[in-house]
Structure formats: structure tokens, C-alpha cells
């Protein structure tokens, strides 16, 4: 939930209004004019002279603008200022006629005359005619570059053709030539090997890989290297982690109680597998957004819905409507950021100030997800069930069933007692269908819902004395039996019993107040515009759909399989955003900065692309290749642009100090995963096992960082130090890169670093014996992939001489020193 200033103000305002009694409600409002109204000559001048000074444009007073018809009718905000054909009920009229206590409009300047009010009334009563030439609807946005369909541009011709290895270079070189940027040399082969290996797999090359690559002088050596790396399972572990950042995935619920989601790891593994398989991006999106709707059923599709299920969830939230809405808000924001590259967040509470996304659009979009919920979902995995049954003690099922009966009896009894305590007004409010409840009844129903909400702990207390010994015994027995058992095969995913054609069993979730799961309520769920984003301020019902600026949503299709319809739209070849947003992310992870520098914001306020045509060319390549991510990788890493050296060039620096036009490789620090994994790799300890449940961080854990338990409230400390994921509270499009002394202290003093240094030293000693010169070389080759030069050798010798007198072994601190080298920690 995102709090906004306007939201709190609006609530305050509503509260103030409610508290006051109308002062002169009885006084009459001037009657409407009786003639046919002409907007241009009779209404427009009133609005212009008396209202527009404050109430027009993108930052109007109180957020209320009168220069858009849709704002007057409340179409965008759910807060209508006029009721078309009913001027006497229109807030605009009440305000100008002084019928709203404590408030009169215009707030400044003369009041409207009775004649003017009468004209406005007639205008409203006659259907609120409008002149779009005079006051056009929001349109600037339809012209916004990112909302235009992708057009495959021609590859530009450049002066110096030797600089062009593939079309990417043509676009880059053309832009450089315009700006007078000079070519820089290609990086050395050793650097290219290191750059590619770290970039594609997140691991440094081994000495053997270095030797093999440097020895291979054939023209295909580079391409072969690329193929080897793209085929390595480590590729998916590296690039999957990028995706997990964007989709705000974690192993726990977040908020205060932050329960672990013991099966969330399956989605993490799904992402890794998908990257490794080069799953077409359109298919990848379909599985993640609509996996439960896809026919035929597969476990893999269900696991993929972990994208939606990664929403944070406050299991301490007693207000179930709020709890559910917070999840939906999280899902909408993450989906829009991830796939569309749009920040819809703002529109939760008010129409977006800069982008053409209204609050109505927001809740229409929410509608796609409203009939589903995150849950622990049983998989069909036959081997998993076989394993489960194989070790299940025979008496287990009976014990569980009996305990459930006692539990349900107590719950039903409690429910009866609570129902009996409801006031008649509460009872009738509950009995009234939701959409027919008055505001007061809505409040009463909410009260009643809270009263009827029964917590697990209350049920336990309510077990009758006679049943208690049996109940306690069963509990103990079940716990004991479960210790010998394995978990049922399950995943933490998102499932709609309404739109999914498949039956999926829900398994229990942990938490004090896990969200209730009621298929019948999900079936009834319809999207409503929530005023100011407040779950209990329900506005008009809206139709499920994507933002109106992208055109009409076919309602019949959406009705049946809403999320499938959403994906169908997203992956249309002429969709303006999906492909652009994805190729831009790929580009960013390769070069450190996207062609659009704001990867989660392609909207009006986002950055303009540095190379718009290249962006479109890549987007169309993605689609042409059948949405192949690896195809884009091959193009990028195969280009001269990617192979440039990072050398400084004073003239270029003068002309493009930020290297926006990519005249050289930008050296940047590695991410926390590549640093921690790199230490393990060079010390020879890295356990390359792929996948499985997450592991609690500990200096002795030697799996890749990807597999450390991602608890939102307590992420591994090293991640906080090196700008890795911490709270996963929202989509993270780009990590920060800080350089602080605490990082140096970690690499110098933390037990993890010391353990790696010891292990590396042991390896080096094994290979080089006690021969110092050989140790110097072997250690450096393992860490940096190359032998020391003269200066480095002499520095190392000096160190060994100074230290050997002090300690038994200078080798360990020498090895550890190498972990601290910029060359080791930076992508060059």
C-alpha cells in the first residue's frame, strides 16, 4: 500500500465533511435555464473565468481539474463532480451554490450568479455537452514515443564500415559519428574471456578455461566461447537472478511476521530453468501470468505463477479485505513495472499525473487478478507423491481427519455464538448483497465480518474440555508423525478456481491470519474503483481491462480466462512495450545501463532512449527470433560495441563524459552474487548443485548466493553490504553500486573471506608446494586468470619476505589480498 499525500488529505476531508451538519441545505438552488445550452458560448466562459485559474492542468488545486470531461463525470477517479442529467445532485452545483457546508466555490473571486448556476444546471441536465476542440481529452500521451508500435528501422550506414561487426554496431557507430566520438581498441582476449564469463555466468573463468581460450586462435573461438557459456547451467543462475530482482521474489512473506514460504524456491528454480532453456519470452510471460489457466495442465506452469504469488502479505492483518487488496496492489504494481515498464503505483490513489493511466485504469487492470489468490498449491508430481506416501505412517490420515473434525466442531460452535451476538442491523447488512449495501451497511458489514473472523488460536481455546485431552494427544501425535514424513509436493503459486480449468488442491499456509481461501467469493469478485486507493471506499464497478490508452479490451475473451487474455495482448507483435522493455533490460545487464536508463519507467517522465532506433531494432529482432532471449545475447556480446576496451580517451570523455554513447566499456563493480560466488569459485569450494530449497546463510555454506534464504526482513548480511537484494518490497530494476569501507572490512575480516583464503591457500600449496615463486603465480592465476607481471611479482615477493618472519604462512594473507583486488571485483 502506497500512502500519498492526497490520500491522507482526501480522507481527512471526507471525515471533516461527515462530521458537519449541512447549514443551509434547505435553501433552494437556482433553477436550471430552460433553453438549449451552447457549451462554447455559455459554459466555457464560466469555467474559464471562474474555475480554470485553479482547476486545470496536471497539478490542479486539490487534484481536481475541470478541463477534462472524464474528470467531471468521475470516470477516472470514482469521485464524480457531476451526475449527468441530475444537476440538483451534482457536487459541482452544490459547491457553486454554497450548499456544501464550510465550502463554496469559487474559493477566490466573485461567486457565480444565479443565472450562471442555472446555465451550469441546464448544461448538466441536458447531458453535459463538451467541445473537444476547445478542451481536448488527454492526448499528449498517445503521442509518447513508447506507446507507438515498434517499427523495425533500417540499419544505418556508417562511414567507417570496419567498425561494424553486426547491426548493433551500425546503430552505435552512427550515433558516435554524429557526435565525433572516436573508436577505441578492442579489449584483450584475456579481458574478453573474463568479461564474457562473468557477465553470462556470474563466475570467473578457471585457469584451464583461460588456457584453452587463449590457445584457440581460430576465428570461431569467440563464438564457441559464447555458445559454451550460454549452454552452462550457471548462465540461468546468473540471469535468473536478474529476473528475480525485477519480480520482487523472496522466500518469505514480508511485513512484520515475515513467515518463510517454504516452497517459494520452486519458482526460483523455474526461472533458472527457463533461462537455461531459452524459453521464448512470450511463453515465459504466459506461464508466469496465466500458468494456472493454460491447457493442458503442467506442474511447471503452476510453479511459474510464483511471479504473481511473490507479493508481500501481512499475515497479521486482521482486516481481510485490506489484506487481500494489498496483495492485489502488489501484483498490479509488479506486473506493470516488470512487463510494461510503467509505474502504475500512483494510479492506485489518483489518476497518474504524467502518464495516461487513470485510477479507473488501475482497478480495471486489478480485475485481471481479482479471481485468484496466492497459496501453497499441491503439485501433481507423481514421483513426489510416491515419495510422500512411501514414508507416510498408516495412522497419519486418520489422526489428521479426527483432529479436523474436532477443530471444525469448535469453529462452528464459535461461529454460531458470534452470529447470535450480531445486532439486527449488522445481520441485515450482512444479508444484503455486497453491491446493494448503503455506506452505513458497508460499515456494519465490515464490523460484522471482523466479529465473525475466527482465529486459529481462538478455535484451539474453544475446544470443549471433554475433547481437549484427545485433541492435544492428536496434535502431539501428528507432529511426531510429521517428523518422519516428507512434504507433499507443492509450490507457492497463484491460482484461480474460477478461471483455471484445472483442479488444484490448496495446502495450508503458515501465519497467524493467513488469507482465507473461499472459491465462491473469488467467483463473485469483481473490480471496483477504490476511491483514494482506500479499500473501504468503494466507487463504481469497472470492467476488467488494460489501460484505455492502449485501446479497447475484448470483454468476451477476458470474461473466461482473464489472464490469458492479458498475455495474448502483451505478446502481440505490435505491442509497444513488452519487447522494448525486455530487450532494454537485457541491454542494461550487459552494459550496466539501459538504452532507456529507467528500465521500469517507459512513461512520460521516464528517460528517453539514448538510441531509439537500436531499441526498436532489437525489439523487432526479439519478436522475429521467436522471442529468444539468447538470440539477443548473441547479438549483443557478438558486437564490436561489447568488445571495446575500457581505455580512457580524452577527446571522447570531453564529448560524452557519462559514456552514454558507448564509446568504451564501462568498468563496474560486480554484484554481490558474483563477488561471493567468485570467492568460492577461486578457492575451489563452490558447490555447483543447482536448485532445491533455500539455505540459511552461514560462512560455511558453499552454494551459490542465489540459493541463500531470501528472508525479506533478514536478508544475508553480505547482500546489504554489496547492494544486493534486501527487502524485495517492490520490483528492483537496477541495483545501487556503492563503494564504502564496510565492504573492504568484510573482505578483510569476515569469516567467510578468511575461510576462502585458507581453502585457496591449501589448493595453491597442493599445486605449487612450498615454492614461494610458484605459489605467487598459481594463486594469482586462480584468482585473476593470469600470471603476475614483474611489478606484481615483486610486490608479492616483498610481501612474502615481510610476512614470513611474522607468521607461519604468508600464503593465506596473500591469497586473501587477491580477493581484494579491483581486477577481481570489477567487470572490465
Amino acid at each position: 500500500m502506497r500512502w500519498c499525500l492526497s490520500r491522507s488529505l482526501a480522507l481527512l476531508f471526507l471525515a471533516t465533511l461527515a462530521a458537519r451538519v449541512p447549514a443551509d441545505a434547505s435553501a433552494s438552488i437556482p433553477s436550471p435555464a430552460t433553453h438549449k445550452i451552447d457549451f462554447r458560448s455559455e459554459i466555457y466562459p464560466i469555467l474559464k473565468d471562474h474555475c480554470f485559474q485553479c482547476h486545470q492542468g496536471s497539478s490542479p488545486s486539490s487534484g481536481i481539474r475541470l478541463d477534462l470531461r472524464a474528470e467531471l463525470t468521475g470516470e477516472n477517479s470514482g469521485k464524480p463532480l457531476v451526475e449527468v442529467n441530475q444537476s440538483s445532485k451534482s457536487r459541482l452545483i452544490l459547491l457553486v451554490a454554497g450548499k456544501v457546508p464550510g465550502k463554496i466555490m469559487p474559493a477566490r473571486g466573485p461567486r457565480l450568479s444565479a443565472v450562471q448556476v442555472g446555465l451550469l444546471r441546464a448544461w448538466i441536465d441536458q447531458g453535459l455537452a463538451w467541445d473537444e476542440r476547445l478542451l481536448p481529452p488527454l492526448e499528449r500521451t498517445a503521442k509518447h514515443w513508447a506507446f507507438q508500435p515498434v517499427q523495425r528501422p533500417d540499419v544505418p550506414t556508417v562511414k567507417d564500415k570496419t567498425l561494424v561487426r553486426n547491426p548493433i554496431d551500425a546503430f552505435i557507430v552512427a550515433a558516435k559519428e554524429v557526435r565525433g566520438l572516436q573508436p577505441v581498441p578492442e579489449a584483450t582476449r584475456a579481458i574478453l574471456l573474463r568479461r564474457l564469463t562473468l557477465d553470462l555466468t556470474g563466475l570467473p573463468p578457471t585457469p584451464a578455461e583461460v588456457d584453452a581460450f587463449l590457445a584457440d586462435r581460430t576465428p570461431q573461438a569467440y563464438d564457441r566461447l559464447v555458445e559454451r557459456l550460454l549452454a552452462s547451467p550457471a548462465y540461468g543462475e546468473r540471469w535468473g537472478r536478474h529476473w528475480l530482482d525485477v519480480v520482487r521474489w523472496a522466500d518469505s512473506e514480508g511485513y512484520e511476521s515475515d513467515h518463510i514460504r517454504p516452497f517459494a524456491w520452486r519458482y526460483r528454480d523455474y526461472v533458472v530453468r527457463s533461462f537455461n532453456a531459452d524459453k521464448p519470452y512470450d511463453r515465459f510471460l504466459r506461464e508466469q501470468l496465466a500458468g494456472d489457466e493454460i491447457t493442458p495442465y503442467s506442474d511447471e506452469n503452476l510453479i511459474a505463477t510464483g511471479f504473481l504469488a511473490s507479493a508481500r502479505l501481512s499475515s497479521n492483518e486482521e482486516d481481510k479485505a485490506r489484506q487481500r487488496n494489498d496483495i492485489l496492489v502488489d501484483i498490479v504494481n509488479a506486473t506493470a513495472s516488470t512487463v510494461l515498464g510503467l509505474t502504475m503505483n500512483c494510479a492506485q490513489c489518483h489518476s497518474h499525473k504524467f502518464d495516461p493511466i487513470s485510477a479507473r485504469d488501475y482497478y480495471r487492470f486489478q480485475g485481471f487478478f481479482i479471481q485468484g489468490a496466492p497459496n501453497n498449491l499441491a503439485l501433481r508430481d507423481p514421483a513426489g507423491w510416491k515419495a510422500y506416501r512411501a514414508v507416510k505412517p498408516p495412522e497419519y490420515d486418520a489422526a489428521v481427519r479426527l483432529k479436523q473434525i474436532l477443530h471444525d466442531q469448535a469453529r462452528d460452535q464459535l461461529l454460531r455464538e458470534r452470529r447470535a451476538k450480531l445486532t439486527p442491523a449488522q445481520g441485515s447488512a450482512l444479508a444484503t448483497p455486497e453491491e446493494k449495501r448503503s455506506a452505513e451497511q458497508q460499515r456494519l458489514a465490515r464490523e460484522a465480518d471482523l466479529l465473525l473472523q475466527i482465529l486459529e488460536s481462538q478455535i484451539e481455546k474453544a475446544i470443549p474440555e471433554t475433547d481437549r485431552p484427545l485433541y492435544d494427544e492428536l496434535k502431539k501425535k501428528i507432529t511426531a508423525l510429521e517428523k518422519q514424513m516428507v512434504d507433499k509436493p507443492q509450490t507457492f503459486g497463484f491460482y484461480s478456481p474460477v478461471s483455471s480449468p484445472h483442479k488444484v488442491e490448496m495446502l495450508p499456509m503458515k501465519g497467524f491470519y493467513p488469507p482465507p481461501y473461499h472459491p465462491e467469493e473469488l467467483a463473485r469478485a469483481r473490480p471496483y474503483l477504490l476511491r483514494s486507493g482506500e479499500v473501504h471506499e468503494r466507487g463504481p464497478a469497472v470492467e476488467v481491462g488494460w489501460p484505455a490508452v492502449f485501446g479497447p479490451t475484448p470483454s468476451a475473451k477476458v470474461e473466461k480466462h482473464p489472464r490469458t487474455a492479458l498475455v495474448d495482448w502483451l505478446v502481440q507483435p505490435n505491442h509497444p512495450l513488452t519487447a522494448r522493455v525486455w530487450v532494454n533490460r537485457i541491454w542494461q545487464y550487459h552494459f550496466g545501463r539501459g538504452l532507456v536508463a529507467t528500465p521500469n519507467d517507459f512513461g512520460f517522465r521516464g528517460a528517453r532512449p539514448s538510441h531509439p532506433e537500436l531499441l526498436d531494432w532489437l525489439a523487432s529482432e526479439l519478436i522475429r527470433s521467436g522471442w529468444s532471449t539468447k538470440h539477443i545475447h548473441r547479438l549483443i556480446v557478438g558486437s564490436n560495441t561489447y568488445r571495446q576496451s575500457s581505455r580512457m580517451n580524452p577527446i571522447n570523455k570531453e564529448r560524452d563524459p557519462e559514456n552514454r554513447y558507448l564509446w568504451r566499456w564501462t568498468v563496474r563493480r560486480l554484484e554481490v552474487e558474483a563477488i561471493r560466488d567468485g570467492l568460492l569459485a577461486v578457492s575451489g569450494e563452490l558447490d555447483r548443485t543447482c536448485g532445491g530449497p533455500s539455505i540459511v546463510d552461514d560462512p560455511r555454506v558453499v552454494r551459490r548466493t542465489l540459493y541463500l534464504l531470501q528472508k525479506r526482513q533478514k536478508a544475508p548480511a553480505v547482500q546489504g553490504l554489496f547492494d544486493g537484494p534486501t527487502g524485495a518490497t517492490e520490483s528492483c530494476p537496477k541495483r545501487a553500486l556503492s563503494t564504502v569501507p564496510l565492504q573492504a572490512l568484510y573482505l578483510l575480516n569476515n569469516e567467510f573471506s578468511v575461510l576462502r583464503a585458507r581453502a585457496l591457500a591449501a589448493k595453491v600449496r597442493h599445486e605449487a608446494g612450498d615454492h614461494t615463486e610458484r605459489q605467487i603465480t598459481v594463486a594469482m592465476r586462480r584468482v585473476l586468470g593470469r600470471a603476475p607481471d614483474d611489478e606484481e611479482r615483486s610486490a608479492a615477493r616483498a610481501f612474502f619476505q615481510a610476512t614470513s618472519r611474522e607468521t607461519e604462512s604468508a600464503l593465506i594473507p596473500y591469497c586473501q589480498a587477491l580477493f581484494n583486488l579491483n581486477e577481481f571485483l570489477y567487470l572490465e
Binding site: M1, W3, L5, S8, Y255, E256, D258, N316, T343, G603, R605, G606, A607, M648, P657, E658, V667, R668, R669, Q713, K714, A717, Q719, G720, L721, D723, G724, T726, G727, T729, A736, L737, S738, T739, V740, P741, L742, A744, L745, Y746, L748, N749, N750, E751, V754, A795, A798, F799, A802, T803, T807, I812, P813, Y814, A817, N820, L821, N822, Y826, E828
Partner: protein
């Protein structure tokens, strides 16, 4: 953020580079002056030298669990008369209807209040030592918000909203002003009590390096040289790292990030040599140790935090957050508040005395308070009543840093339930804390998702009366 239409401010780094100072001495000294802040440029940082506020440092004494206002800083004589009775309708009318706010069975404070100091403000017998400083305290009696649940309320108090995903105040100030001591982090946290409240010192959407460094009296994490490293071998190791990194830089050619990273080793080494000194309380006289209650089993823990807070502030740390958990007096008020107060009274009084003695109080804003207060009504009817959570009207106090002491601001109703005069939302308090530092609340910002994020995202009004 140079890609935004209509805005082309230079990052500081770009400025240095454009001035041709990439590796020059000026650039280096600037880099050194504030390593962290220079390397994360999203606008909205401030130059501490130009700020006019009296306060240069903040010490937040966070009383987790929620101390009761009517037993601490907001005495209500009427409660004596109404003990066991209902809240009179005339008062009940203005009490917000939120969960856990019963109106029956008022419970008179079991603690005596006496007027103290020149100001004659009433002080509860819970705080005999802090009471001696009453003329330096500005008591805020009308703090309020709407959330009667611990964690969300703690997040409102520390981050401004209840979700717990925004940057904490300490992280904001660390980001905006940096540490005045390049050898020490800018934001240090000591905590006892409930775990899992890390959001209260997290960096939210700011770069993670601005989060509070959770510390123990043993020192910062990763400060101790590992076993097997003699001082001489460590020194030689650092020299080796420096030499190899310099060599690499030379081969590579000018690069501000690589250069800055080399410098972090100097900073780390200095931190490593200076930090143990900060945490070495053996250097303090026995009188000082006694002042903070280090001679008493009950007060030694929080006393150590307080003494370390003074030592950190003295050395330039910008924000120190001390958390004393456990004020959640549901079952038995006396059994809870009496020892809780005893644990903290002497240490906090010692801190105030010491800060004053060393002249630091003038430039250090000290803040005392919890995530909310407690109900004037009893929580259970037995012989040992407790009090439930109540965010509708509770007390905090401020001292030092230009604050005018010996005064009270705001008021609750006659039973101490709801703030009725000059309600102070945590957002107002945040604006006020920034003001004490000389920071106008809109001048400190961070561009996140293209939105200019502020500390006081929901607004916040500076309480001017706080200042002298």
C-alpha cells in the same frame, strides 16, 4: 538522472570529471571527505557545512513496546477520581474509535508525580534521574497516529508510514548529511528487545549502504582482525593490496570508481584502528561509568549503549538509534514499567549530564519515546492491571540541539486518552527533527521511480515552539 527531459544537473562525479580533476588532489580530498555520499548520486543531498541548524547529531532513544503517557510525562489527576469508572461521555466523544481502546475501567496511575526544576514541570517517580534534567526537556504530550499495532507503529515512528518499506529517518539523514567522521559510519544502531524490526533502521529505496549499522558493544561487524593475522602481516597485506590496485589503476587509466575503492582501504584501516578505541570503555573514568549505571546489573546494558552513543556522537557519527524493548505493559503495569524505567533512567540521565558537561548537548538532539502510548483504561480488571496499546495521544520528549527545555507542548484530554491540543503526528516530528538539523524538509530528497521522494512524504509540519 541526467536522462530526464528538462533536467540536466551534473552529478558530483561528473562535475569533478569535467573540471578535469578526476585524480587531482581536490577531487580526492572531496572523495575522502565523504566517500559514501559521492558515490550514489540521485540528487537531494546537502552540504552539512552550509546547514544552519544547531543540531549536528541525533540520538534516538526508542522505547519499544510503548511506555504509558499517564504514568510517565502526562499526569492526569482526574484519573484518581475516575479510577475504575468509565470515560465520561464528554471526553469519550473525542477519542478515536480504534481497536484496543476500551472506555470502561479507567486506571489511575500508581506512580506519584512531583514538580521539578525551575520550570516546575511534573515528573513521574519512575524517572528520578531524568527528572533532574527537566529544565532541558521539551515534553511533547500530544503525539498521535492511528495504528495500535507494534511493528507498523514502530515503522510510522521511524520511517513515516506503517508499511516498513520506506527509508528510516536515520538512513535519510545519513544519506543527506553523511558522517562527519570519515572513519566511522554515519548511522549506528544498538537494539534490545523484539527482533525483526530491522525496517526501523533500513534504507528502504535508498542505496543499502545508508542503512543503520546494527552494532553490539563489541564493535562494528567485521572489525576484528582474523585469527592468524599479526598487526605486521595485516599492514603488509594492506600495502600489497594498495600496491597491486594502484598498479592495476595505472595500467587501466583514470577511473573514479576504482580510485575511490582503493581509498576505502585507507578508510577501512582507519576505521579498524579508530573503532576499537570508540568501543573501549575502559578509558572512561569510573565516575563516568557510574554516571551511566555501568556499575549496576540492571542498568549496565542500556548504560553501555548510552555511553557508546556519546562516544560515537563525539566522534562525528550523525545518527545513533538506541532501542530499549519491553515496555509492552499488558498484564501488569507496575511489574513492567518499574523495572523498564529503572533500566533506562540512570543511563539516559547520565547521557544528558555527560553531553551537557562536554558541551555536546547543544549540537545533539536527543529524542525519547516509543511507537505509541497506552490506554488510561485498565486492560484487565484483576488486582494487577495493565494497559493496552494507544496511539491516540502519547508523550515523547526532546532535548538538546537547540530545543527549548522546561516546556510542554500539546495536551491530551483530561484522562490522557487522546491528543486534543496541537496533535503531533510522527511526520510532524520528522519535519521538526530535520528542522533542528537546519534541513528544510523539501530540500532533502531522493529520486525514486521518477518521484521526488521526501522524508515527510505525507506532509509534516515543523513544531516551531520546540525551538528556543
Amino acid at each position: 538522472m541526467n536522462d530526464h527531459p528538462g533536467r540536466t544537473p551534473l552529478t558530483r562525479r561528473a562535475m569533478l570529471q569535467q573540471a578535469g580533476l578526476g585524480l587531482g588532489t581536490l577531487a580526492l580530498s572531496l572523495l575522502l571527505a565523504d566517500e559514501q555520499r559521492l558515490l550514489a548520486d540521485e540528487g537531494g543531498q546537502l552540504d552539512p557545512a552550509k546547514l544552519k541548524g544547531k543540531a549536528k547529531h541525533v540520538i534516538l532513544l526508542f522505547m519499544g513496546g510503548g511506555p504509558s503517557q499517564v504514568d510517565t510525562w502526562d499526569p492526569k489527576p482526574l484519573l484518581e477520581k475516575l479510577n475504575g469508572k468509565e470515560v465520561p461521555a464528554s471526553i469519550a466523544r473525542d477519542i478515536p474509535r480504534i481497536a484496543r481502546a476500551p472506555l470502561q475501567n479507567l486506571y489511575a496511575s500508581p506512580y506519584r508525580f512531583t514538580r521539578q526544576g525551575k520550570s516546575g514541570l511534573p515528573v513521574s517517580e519512575l524517572f528520578p534521574e531524568i527528572g533532574k534534567h527537566i529544565d532541558d526537556l521539551c515534553v511533547l504530550r500530544s503525539c498521535r497516529h492511528d495504528t495500535p499495532i507494534h511493528a507498523p507503529a514502530e515503522y510510522i515512528a521511524t520511517t513515516g508510514t506503517q508499511v516498513g518499506d520506506r527509508p528510516s529517518l536515520g538512513a535519510w539523514i545519513n544519506y543527506g548529511l553523511g558522517s562527519a567522521n570519515r572513519n566511522l559510519p554515519g548511522f549506528v544502531v544498538f537494539a534490545t528487545g523484539e527482533s525483526g524490526r530491522a525496517a526501523a533502521w533500513s534504507s528502504g529505496f535508498l542505496p543499502p549502504s545508508y542503512q543503520g549499522v546494527l552494532t553490539t558493544p563489541a564493535g562494528f561487524p567485521n572489525l576484528a582482525t582474523p585469527e592468524g593475522f599479526s598487526p605486521a602481516s595485516r599492514k603488509a597485506q594492506l600495502e600489497l593490496i594498495e600496491r597491486l590496485n594502484r598498479h592495476h589503476l595505472q595500467r587501466h587509466g583514470e577511473h573514479a570508481d576504482l580510485e575511490a575503492r582503493i581509498r576505502t582501504y585507507e578508510l577501512a584501516a582507519r576505521m579498524q584502528t579508530s573503532a576499537p578505541e570508540v568501543f573501549d570503555l575502559g578509558k572512561e573514568s569510573s565516575a563516568t561509568r557510574k554516571l551511566y549505571g555501568l556499575d549496576d546489573r540492571e542498568t549496565v546494558e542500556f548504560g553501555t549503549f548510552c555511553l557508546l552513543a556519546r562516544r560515537l556522537v563525539e566522534r562525528g557519527v550523525r545518527f545513533v538509534q538506541l532501542r530499549s524493548g519491553g515496555w509492552d505493559a499488558h498484564g501488569n503495569l507496575i511489574k513492567n514499567h518499574t523495572p523498564q524505567a529503572r533500566k533506562t533512567d540512570r543511563p539516559i540521565a547520565g547521557l544528558l549530564t555527560d553531553l551537557k558537561r562536554t558541551g555536546l548537548l547543544d549540537q545533539t538532539l536527543v529524542i525519547w519515546g516509543g511507537e505509541f502510548g497506552r490506554t488510561p483504561a485498565a486492560e484487565n480488571a484483576g488486582p494487577t492491571p495493565g494497559r493496552n496499546h494507544s496511539p491516540s495521544g502519547y508523550s515523547m520528549w526532546l532535548a538538546g540541539g537547540g530545543v527549548k527545555g522546561g516546556q510542554c507542548i500539546g495536551a491530551t484530554d483530561d484522562v490522557g486518552y487522546a491528543a486534543i491540543d496541537r496533535p503531533i503526528h510522527p511526520n510532524d516530528l520528522h519535519a521538526t527533527i530535520l528542522a533542528a538539523l537546519g534541513v528544510e524538509q523539501h530540500s532533502l530528497y531522493y529520486l525514486h521511480n521518477n518521484r521526488k521522494e521526501l522524508v515527510t512524504v505525507n506532509g509534516g509540519e515543523v513544531i516551531r515552539a520546540v525551538f528556543a
